[in-house]
Point group: C2
Chain length 343, copies 2
């Protein structure tokens, strides 16, 4: 089943079939109808390799996923899913690449013409992979935000705004002494953008509003959460607001606050930086600041594709930098400060 079979069946030349399929030159309505009819009837699909060879475009986008498991995995999977669906909508397929291949993997994709573009997930501040990308002629988009995004397009959540939004919400409820419970120290050490930037946004806004605040790292186990809370409450017993960016610490924290008599939300407010699905799942349901994973995936794909188009037309692609605004959803875990009664 090749293009010639379709051409013969429809009584036209192969180029006409090709043009009907690509739309790159006008075809009379009648011919187009006949060709499309036989394409459908014969179940014809152009041979991907032949097409890539002749057109110099594979219609494949590579998605590089991290091997690390400290990121909240379901979110990555959700992004990957939306990347795939959006790509398909534009006639592209998605190739999955694990990060362990490193820069060589991307070089291979570029050199073999396997991928027209690359989407790199989980980019870190100071990411050493970024410099390697410049040499290649592959179009690249980052999900994440490196120190220097020159020559690339980037999409990410506006984590800084998310951190600030948490502070604003708590401040608006009258809290004056708050704490940030984040990820384990390893994550800050490797400068994961989502951790570093959220904390920075939190810090800046808290200082701006002259609030007292504390930052505490937490590995996510029950013990480490207990440790973090212990430190906070002994250093700053007056703390009433908790901003939590650590999915695994949420359950333990709620439990610990309860056992310590700090009933949420009457005696303590908790605001989570986590996906909606998670926030909904606790009792009390958590007020949360969230970013839309599907948007990330969609925009990343549209950015690579637009870069690919530009480069095909011989233009230098514009570098885009999109930061998605976070959303605050108020649920049951935050409330106005009540002066602690002496009872």
């Amino acid at each position: 089943m090749t293009i010639r079979d379709v051409a013969r069946a429809a009584g036209v030349s192969t180029s006409t079939v090709s043009y009907v399929l690509s739309g790159k030159r006008p075809v009379s309505a009648e011919t187009r109808r006949r060709v499309e009819h036989f394409v459908a009837e014969l179940g014809y699909h152009p041979h991907a390799g032949a097409r890539a060879l002749a057109s110099k475009r594979s219609h494949i986008i590579a998605l590089v996923v991290p091997l690390r498991t400290d990121v909240y995995v379901p979110v990555m999977m959700e992004i990957a899913t939306y990347v795939t669906m959006t790509a398909r909508k534009h006639g592209y397929d998605v190739l999955l690449i694990t990060n362990d291949e490193g820069p060589d993997g991307i070089r291979r994709l570029a050199a073999s013409g396997l991928a027209d573009g690359v989407i790199l997930m989980d980019v870190e501040l100071g990411d050493e992979r970024i410099s390697t990308l410049g040499e290649l002629r592959t179009q690249t988009v980052l999900i994440g935000l490196p120190d220097d995004p020159a020559g690339l397009s980037c999409v990410d959540h506006d984590f800084s705004a998310a951190g600030a939004l948490c502070v604003d919400h708590l401040a608006g409820l009258g809290h004056r002494e708050i704490a940030f419970i984040g990820y384990g120290t390893g994550i800050y050490r490797r400068r994961a953008g989502y951790a570093e930037r959220t904390l920075a946004g939190f810090r800046a806004r808290a200082e701006e509003l002259r609030m007292r605040f504390l930052h505490s790292s937490c590995e996510g186990t029950y013990e480490s959460t207990a440790g973090a809370l212990g430190h906070i409450l002994s250093d700053r017993p007056g703390t009433t607001g908790f901003v939590v960016q650590n999915e695994r610490a949420l359950g333990p924290l709620l439990h610990l606050l309860r056992t310590r008599g700090r009933i949420v939300p009457d005696k303590a407010s908790v605001i989570a930086l986590c996906p909606e699905r998670l926030a909904d799942q606790y009792a009390p349901a958590l007020t949360a600041v969230t970013g839309a994973a599907k948007e990330l995936g969609r925009i990343a794909v549209e950015q690579v594709i637009s870069r690919i188009f530009a480069s095909v037309r011989g233009r230098r692609p514009d570098d885009a930098l999109v930061l998605l605004a976070p959303t605050l959803t108020v649920r049951e875990s935050t409330g106005p400060v009540r002066l602690s009664d002496p009872s």
Copy 2:
């Protein structure tokens, strides 16, 4: 940078370069060395499309992932990761396909020659996609177990054995009255293999050992977990062992048992069917029955590849059916039954 450039540089013909790379015919040590030298020096990678066109093999495996989100996502991601890494080790790349394309998506992959083989994840008992696969000449492997796996290869965890293993462990500790807390009813209705088969294994073994048992569905929220536990304890107040196959119910359940005075493991034993990482994370750490996700991915890839090889050589591929034995890891949440003291 094509094969001709390498050939010229090494002073040989293009076919010699090709044969050095593919190893499909003997090449003198000296020539091989020279060719390999220039391949590396020039950073040559064969053009994927051209290769696929000439050889009729794309060296790409398609991985079809479900869109549904009720499966425990990190496990799917882990499988996908290992599929990718194993595939690379064998010189294959992995194309990500979301399930929303349905059978047409797979037809497209086959017809366009984009994929040499397909791995279908999250296959259900009575899966309607299976029948469609027979028509295609693509080699297919299922992760999961359909009612009728004829003409296909399958890999999956031995969920039935896992269910039985839980019963055995509890029985060995002296429990005589146990309960199974599973997923929401929707999952059983669509006959997800991991749910149905685990429960069947649990049932069969419990009956065999003449234990009293109950099955309770649970959506995974705090409320539904409370509901499930409430039913169990009112119907069978003597229940001392809990088998839980529902990641989200674990936290709530532990908390509920504590508040009801059924201290784990002294007054109640809990055994989880979940990944190690999760089991480790609770206090007390959970005794758990687990399957190795990486093995699943690895075996699936090796099965497709072996099928592809067979079909290339004109043989009909053998249908394999591999069920991976589960592992029991005893932690802190299970212990011998203590007769409840009257205090």
